[in-house]
Point group: C2
């Protein structure tokens, strides 16, 4: 009998891609999403599949334990994924990223689910002075509430793993790009250029260096890591061995859109409070499995730009 996995945030960017991937591998999938930032359109194919069952529920407010019965793995991807505006709606990070993770862990414990896979972020390293940043780098000081909420969720997951025989896989992502990407600066730039062809306002000085990974490479890395690592708590950076500054990604986007806008930088090393001027993760641990990304950063930016141009309705959404 094929295994049954539960995916929280199944209608989101990463969640919906993961659901499609897992269905193709013949797993049975229970998908949960409150559709606040997720989109049912992303589940178009999955919803036709006999092995997929979708429940629109609110992980924070609803009783969620019943969905975790007879589940072999939980992919906990539901989150407030907005790092930039975290300071404007602080309760969201606390509720969606900490309390919901606690509720998911309680449901996992009560139903004796044996594995949790969690989407964390390179933002947990704050402004690291070790670059590329290793998983066991110096104890970081948090600079964003988003990073703080993710490091809290990681900590609570680890404590439950230690106590309740739950194996955990915590992935610290760089920015993920690709089909169904719906927030982040590539999204913002294209959205703004579609409104105004001639001018692009950019937060910071454009020299912030960021790392990116294509969604397909991200999902393959997750699946390989679950097979190859077997500790109680497994923490892995996911990213490529490259980085790109904001100016560089603007160049690719403008070339793709065939635009030459005037670019106005707001200035400063950081685009916003808590923005890290340089994110570049050490990925030796995941690479030790033989995993290699198939897409480089430039291709990923191009693919994402193309996807958004082909799906301009996404640019009109509030999220």
């Amino acid at each position: 009998m094929s295994k049954t996995f539960l995916v929280t945030g199944c209608a989101g960017f990463i969640g919906s891609n993961l659901v499609d991937y897992l269905l193709e591998k013949n797993y049975k999938i229970i998908g949960l999403d409150n559709l606040s930032t997720g989109n049912k359109f992303f589940l178009k194919n999955a919803l036709k599949h006999k092995n997929f069952k979708f429940h629109k529920i609110d992980l924070l407010r609803n009783n969620i334990e019943k969905y975790f019965k007879n589940i072999d793995r939980v992919y906990h991807l539901a989150a407030n994924a907005d790092v930039r505006f975290g300071l404007n709606h602080r309760k969201k990070d606390i509720n969606q990223n900490i309390i919901v993770t606690y509720k998911v862990l309680e449901a996992i414990k009560k139903n004796q689910v044996q594995k949790i896979i969690f989407s964390s972020t390179g933002s947990v390293y704050g402004e690291s002075n070790q670059i590329p940043t290793k998983e066991n780098t110096f104890f970081p000081i948090q600079t964003s509430l988003y990073g703080a909420s993710k490091v809290s969720a990681e900590a609570i997951i680890s404590a439950y793993s230690e106590a309740f025989n739950i194996k955990s896989y915590i992935f610290r992502f760089v920015s993920i790009l690709g089909e169904r990407y719906t927030h982040g600066h590539v999204f913002d730039f294209i959205k703004n250029l579609k409104k105004n062809n001639n001018m692009l306002k950019v937060l910071g000085d454009g020299n912030q260096k960021k790392s990116y990974l294509h969604i397909k490479d991200c999902i393959e890395a997750i699946e390989i890591a679950i097979k190859k690592f077997d500790k109680k708590v497994n923490i892995l950076n996911l990213g490529t061995q490259e980085y790109l500054n904001v100016k560089g990604s603007i160049k690719i986007i403008c070339k793709h859109l065939k635009l030459k806008p005037k670019i106005l930088y707001s200035g400063g090393r950081r685009g916003w409070i808590g923005d890290s001027p340089f994110i570049y993760l050490d990925t030796k641990k995941i690479r030790s499995t033989g995993w290699r990304p198939k897409y480089n950063i430039k291709e990923s930016v191009k693919i994402t730009a193309k996807y958004l141009i082909d799906n301009q309705w996404l640019l009109k959404r509030k999220n």
Copy 2:
């Protein structure tokens, strides 16, 4: 005009000692406590003082913002301080240590309080492989829910500091001993020996090595650190340059009680899930200020034993 400080958890072990200390220095003090584990008896002297105002409120459930008006510093000490039974009442750590800290930070932000002092713990280092453990040691993996909840609170405090011009002082304590000590293994041992003179059951193999600091040394270290350090986020270990194993503290206690009980060890390196077999913190940072502890560990254990024998009503309390 003398400054006004707010102390959460003012009726607890550390809180009430701090209140007495600060009143002696002529500060005005607002004290908040829900008296769930705190004890009004500890505020006996403070309550007679014209500069002390006590409010029995529940930080989790009540609206707390009004108490933070015109406050110069907040000492946020209110917490679920029970590391050992954290796994039995998991929601307590989440609510009392994470959500309450978030609420305190919101109140601080809205009232533009400029400083927060926070009582964290050496437990945030989990089972460190660096001993003595430095503040910027390796990114730890949490082994207890108590440690996880404190590392979460630290992270959220740091993010608020970064964003909202709030200076934070985060102190990672070893076990604190001294007058008004009401939980931890010295308490448990004396309580059990008072019930049964002939036998003492001990969790673990008795070789767990722990560090201790006397409450008076702890408070002086806090006050010196606030004067000497001035970053946005200041993180300091507080402890002595010694440690003592559980067998050693039993010896001191039994000698003080003039008892020779049979000692039964449950066995294992850890006394309970999430117990760290060796806690010993690097204290170079606080010592760089010139601060030195006045009490050594053996004196602290003795003073604590004497205090509990003189105040046996405390042994009968549930907490």
